[in-house]
Symmetry: C2
Subunit: 446 residues, 2 copies
């Protein structure tokens, strides 16, 4: 399947022989929108702090609602950051890893519920494409005891009560887990990503280097107090190109093969072969993948939805119903758009209509673990740490810590008053405000 | 409160002294977007079938995310439709109804759950603004027995178990209900709107004529097989200007004063005094009103969310969880955007981020009556009519009938295959397909 086809899958297509005039002018509208987008990109080039797409590019619309970014591999700016200098050499990847006949070996780093569920999906797919993939995948878990249990029972008894396929090899030695891998899937809590990357010996990384895909939802603050995304950290520390996969994906439901979607933002610079390979790695009849070339927005949406779902948990905690919860999710999406427009001005509004946007915010606000724990937090006097232990049984709560990072990033720029919803959630989670303060925040949020 | 202020309430405002360069170029991006919008409007002027904004206008952005349409009252096109010829004369309204000192009398037509809940909201507000409003409001119900009960107990025992304020006067004579009213609020099932308008004697309508606000969620098909919106029907039949109010508003929660929002699309041509008056009529600390000058999108969203919530009911019926439901809501919003782009090409994408858009789709998909009934429909072999009686106790189910209208409108234009989600919901509600066909529709929908 070509990248063009993948792009089509996620786009709203307009076609009709009978309504040409209407479609023609929708097309004009879209093309003008895309031109603005390009203009916007150029206008910001010098102030833009996100290095991940600091690159020459052109945007092509082809009448698609969701435009794709085509990177011109031969037009890399001489001023590209060191990250990009290294990424540019991933054209090697396109020419070697993806063109050679050797099937790719895949490693999932992280044996929590989502790491285990996605391993099951991937394990099914690698056997479907023996030319593309090694038939065995590696699942890295740091806990040797849990590894032994999985090896013996094929069930991750701690996090996911689902039988795992036999072609998943659990490994608890990090070097061994990645030493022969061409595709690294990261599925650990965001707090641990720097530790894990630090522990990965550079010499254990294959040459030509693997591609990475981050399933991690979280934001970080760099040494200058600015936003650093997880894919940027992995790219910087391991010197590999990293994409993101994000969506409304409650792990157990995916493992039970209930229909889900996810948004895939492939590693940049874009390579049709890598994009196609990753699509084949993740997509199944019950797990639909849409490709979206807007990694920062996809990744930031994935993190902010955990803050939104804390807001939903607060609404549930004070006993209000769906009217209020729907207003809260809308406030969260509105503040997410504003947040992205500040930290990634080249964002595409259409990305918020992808699964990683509205759908993930909805899913997490009704079904996620943050919602569940924060509801109890509002109803009790227990601390978050206690409730995390009691309710999640070892799983990590990511909403409050992401809320903390968001608050610090906004505070560093004196922007807190423009984000009453996010700011109030953070203060409620710190018990600095009463839970009902969320109602005032909703009234103020506009 | 000026209209400018009202517009600001619903817009995402960007302001910062420290990040001028970023804001400046967001502003440029928005302005270009608005220019496109204007271009788009002009390009379609001759093919546009929706007469409600067939008018000279200019669009001003002022750095707002959600642009407002400013209608130039002196520039009415000579080719304006009869509807518009009549609407143009509502400048009288601006000069008389809104400038005179006589407090306005308000009538709510429809004593179901939403009619009763909004009457309670309005009854509170009219006492707050004695200069603007008559202190008593009229609630029209066709059932004389129910009227007597409400008069005696102040409770609409059939639809809403909440005490109603004493300044609500229940009336079961339609002519009497509207004969002295300056503001007509319509809150009846959409199937009955033509009947009700037909029964309203023209001579009972005040001169200068009242303004109408439709709270009705539904779509209609005119004699040529084209879409006709409820506000257009009321305007056409009663010869009054009609706006729309729509949002995630489960009636009981609003009546219990849980925080809710709604999107108000005031009658056109826009008049700051009327807009301000309507805002004061509806807004309370627990019911937040955002103004949006895009009536067709607001109204179509309100109708289509009932189809989306049937989709959510089907997902619940087959026993799938939030991943699938989030994917379904996203498919519904995507098809709603496509539907609006066909039947109202001048739509604003930002309207979908208003409460009438994503929030209402979310609220209805988790809390609405369509979701509840369709879930049982999927789990049983009972007919919709039986379930409606058993579960809703007299309330009407609007999703399947709206789905039927949507399907006919699309079929008339040979567009069904572009709307797999909406089309499949319609077929499942007719028992022409198995409920699990919704999964295939989600896979196809893109």
């Amino acid at each position: 399947m070509s990248r063009k086809l993948l792009a089509n899958q996620q786009a709203i297509r307009f076609y009709s022989s009978t309504y040409n005039s209407i479609y023609e002018s929708i097309k004009i509208k879209l093309q003008n929108h895309l031109k603005n987008h390009e203009f916007q990109f150029k206008a910001h080039h010098h102030t833009y702090s996100d290095t991940s797409i600091r690159n020459q590019h052109k945007i092509s619309g082809d009448g698609l609602w969701s435009p794709t970014l085509h990177f011109e591999k031969n037009q890399l700016s001489p001023s590209s950051s060191s990250l990009y200098s290294s990424l540019s050499s991933t054209s090697e990847l396109d020419q070697t890893n993806c063109n050679n006949d050797k099937p790719r070996r895949v490693t999932v780093i992280g044996g929590g519920s989502w790491g285990s569920a996605i391993s099951k999906v991937i394990a099914g797919n690698v056997t479907k494409y023996p030319d593309l993939f090694d038939p065995e995948i590696v699942l890295y878990l740091r806990d040797e005891n849990l590894r032994l249990v999985i090896e013996k029972t094929r069930v991750n008894i701690r996090y996911l009560q689902i039988k795992l396929p036999t072609n998943i090899k659990p490994v608890s030695d990090l070097k061994e887990a990645i030493s022969r891998s061409d595709v690294l899937i990261f599925a650990i809590p965001h707090e641990y990503i720097k530790d894990v990357c630090f522990k990965i010996p550079k010499r254990s990384i294959l040459t030509p280097r693997p591609v990475g895909v981050s399933l991690i939802k979280g934001l970080h603050i760099d040494g200058n107090g600015n936003l650093e995304r997880t894919t940027q950290i992995i790219s910087r520390m391991l010197d590999i190109p990293v994409g993101a996969l994000s969506g409304a994906n409650v792990a157990l439901s995916v493992a039970k093969e209930e229909f889900s979607e996810a948004t895939l933002s492939p590693p940049l610079p874009s390579s049709p072969k890598v994009d196609e390979m990753l699509n084949k790695l993740f997509a199944t009849s019950y797990f639909k993948i849409s490709t979206c070339y807007d990694t920062p927005t996809v990744e930031i949406c994935g993190a902010l939805k955990n803050v939104i779902s804390c807001g939903a948990g607060i609404i549930d905690g004070i006993g209000y119903g769906v009217n209020t919860k729907a207003a809260a999710i809308r406030a969260g999406i509105r503040e997410s758009i504003r947040f992205v427009s500040i930290f990634h001005p080249e964002y595409k509004l259409s990305t918020f209509f992808e699964n990683c946007g509205i759908a993930d915010a909805i899913g997490s606000s009704f079904g996620g673990r943050n919602r569940k724990v924060i509801e109890q937090f509002v109803k009790s006097t227990k601390s978050l740490a206690v409730l995390e232990r009691e309710i999640l049984g070892g799983q990590k709560l990511q909403g409050p810590s992401t809320g903390e990072v968001v608050n610090r990033l906004l505070d560093n720029r004196n922007l807190c008053d423009q984000f009453p919803f996010f700011t109030t959630i953070h203060r409620i989670c710190n018990r600095e405000e009463e839970p009902r303060a969320i109602l005032k925040a909703l009234e103020l949020s506009c």
